[in-house]
């Protein structure tokens, strides 16, 4: 529907894997930041008559 590849990630992280969690979050954050903002689904005040 118009979301670029790389903006959505899936990972298994067990509750015991704190280090992996940090890594995954950092990776995802960097990857998404590199893509820049995605404005398609940003809603503004509805334009009404």
């Amino acid at each position: 529907m118009g979301i670029e590849p790389g903006r959505l990630h899936f990972s298994w992280v067990s509750s015991a894997e704190a280090t992996k969690f940090i890594e995954v979050v950092n990776e995802v954050t960097e990857a998404v930041r590199a893509l820049g903002p995605h404005d398609n689904f940003v809603k503004h005040m509805p334009k009404v008559a």
Binding site: M1, G2, F10, F41, K43, K47
Partner: protein, 315 residues
């Protein structure tokens, strides 16, 4: 399929006389060309109004939700699959139903036929695989194959998958059909083109919810678009809200949709929202080998757990 009517009436009359069912749900002749109206017959003499032709596109499973009576229901292939889904999802009990199966050769696309003529269509009749269309000043004979609803043209389950009675002999299923050509075209688009495609696709939507209400899967007591606490979606035709409605509704149908086409058929402004539901139907088929509503004995893929699920999208 014109000969089906007599048989449907015969079976229905018998079921009502025997008291096997309290009502039969079927179609009656509509007041406009290419339109029939869902209706019920509760007395044996009421069966005279029941009819069958290629304008019975509304999915009758929609009329079974949470009913308490014993019901005879007319079911083409897709209706029967949605009845299966209804039974799995506890919206009706199998032993409440006498399913009168109708092997189907496809419904005609009234929008397509309308767009082929300059002036208003006054009557449409069917004979031996032909569709005879009359306007005020012209008559044209069309091949039915060419004016099928788009979902019917690619249907591979024309025969009811579950039934107690049959209104005709089973028909041959369509083989070697490329069911997803249109979806692959969209899949091949760039993210930006996809966004623009859906933007354009949904621009005419007036948020009347005919698609949702015609869909046998959409029976939630309160739809997410109607919730006020929290309010997930705005109430105007703002493009973001409209898209949110259509996208989320499609996701709610994933693994359940039988591609019966009721949503598109119902839409007053002709939006082809099947491009959304069909993509999810395709994914369910390709990832899980799943087609909705074929059996009472398996749970749909999105509410079942399998240890050997490949899950190759998860890193």
């Amino acid at each position: 399929m014109v000969g089906y009517t007599d048989k449907i009436r015969e079976i229905s009359e018998r079921l009502l006389k025997e008291g096997t069912v309290d009502m039969v749900i079927g179609f009656r002749q509509g007041s406009m060309p290419m339109m029939n109206e869902p209706c019920f017959a509760k007395r044996p003499e009421d069966v005279e109004k029941l009819t069958w032709d290629s304008n019975c596109g509304i999915n009758l499973a929609n009329y079974l939700t949470d009913r308490k009576e014993k019901i005879g229901v007319i079911a083409k292939g897709c209706d029967s699959r949605n009845i299966v889904t209804h039974i799995i999802e506890n919206k009706i009990k199998r032993d409440q139903l006498v399913i009168i199966g109708v092997p189907c050769k496809g419904m005609i696309d009234r929008r397509k036929i309308t767009s082929m003529f300059e002036t208003e269509i006054l009557s449409v009749a069917e004979e031996d695989g032909k569709v005879i269309v009359k306007t005020g000043d012209a008559e044209k004979i069309l091949e039915k194959e060419e004016v099928l609803q788009k979902n019917c043209a690619v249907c591979i389950h024309r025969n009811p998958v579950i039934y107690d009675e049959l209104a005709a002999d089973l028909v041959e299923e369509q083989k070697d059909i490329d069911r997803y050509a249109d979806i692959r075209e969209i899949e091949a688009m760039s993210p930006e083109d996809k966004w623009n495609y859906f933007d354009d696709l949904l621009s005419a939507c007036v948020r009347c919810y005919a698609c949702r209400n015609a869909c046998p899967l959409c029976y939630c007591p309160t739809c997410f678009v109607d919730e006020s606490q929290p309010q997930w979606v705005g109430k105007t035709t703002d493009p973001i809200d409209t898209k949110t409605f259509h996208f989320l509704r499609a996701y709610h149908c994933a693994g359940r949709c039988t591609d019966c086409g009721a949503c598109e058929r119902a839409c007053p402004v002709g939006i082809n929202m099947r491009t959304l539901t069909k993509k999810l139907e395709k994914d369910c088929f390709e990832y899980y080998g799943w087609e909705a509503g074929l059996t009472l004995d398996a749970r749909p893929p999105l509410d079942a757990y399998k240890p050997d699920d490949p899950e190759d999208f998860i890193k």
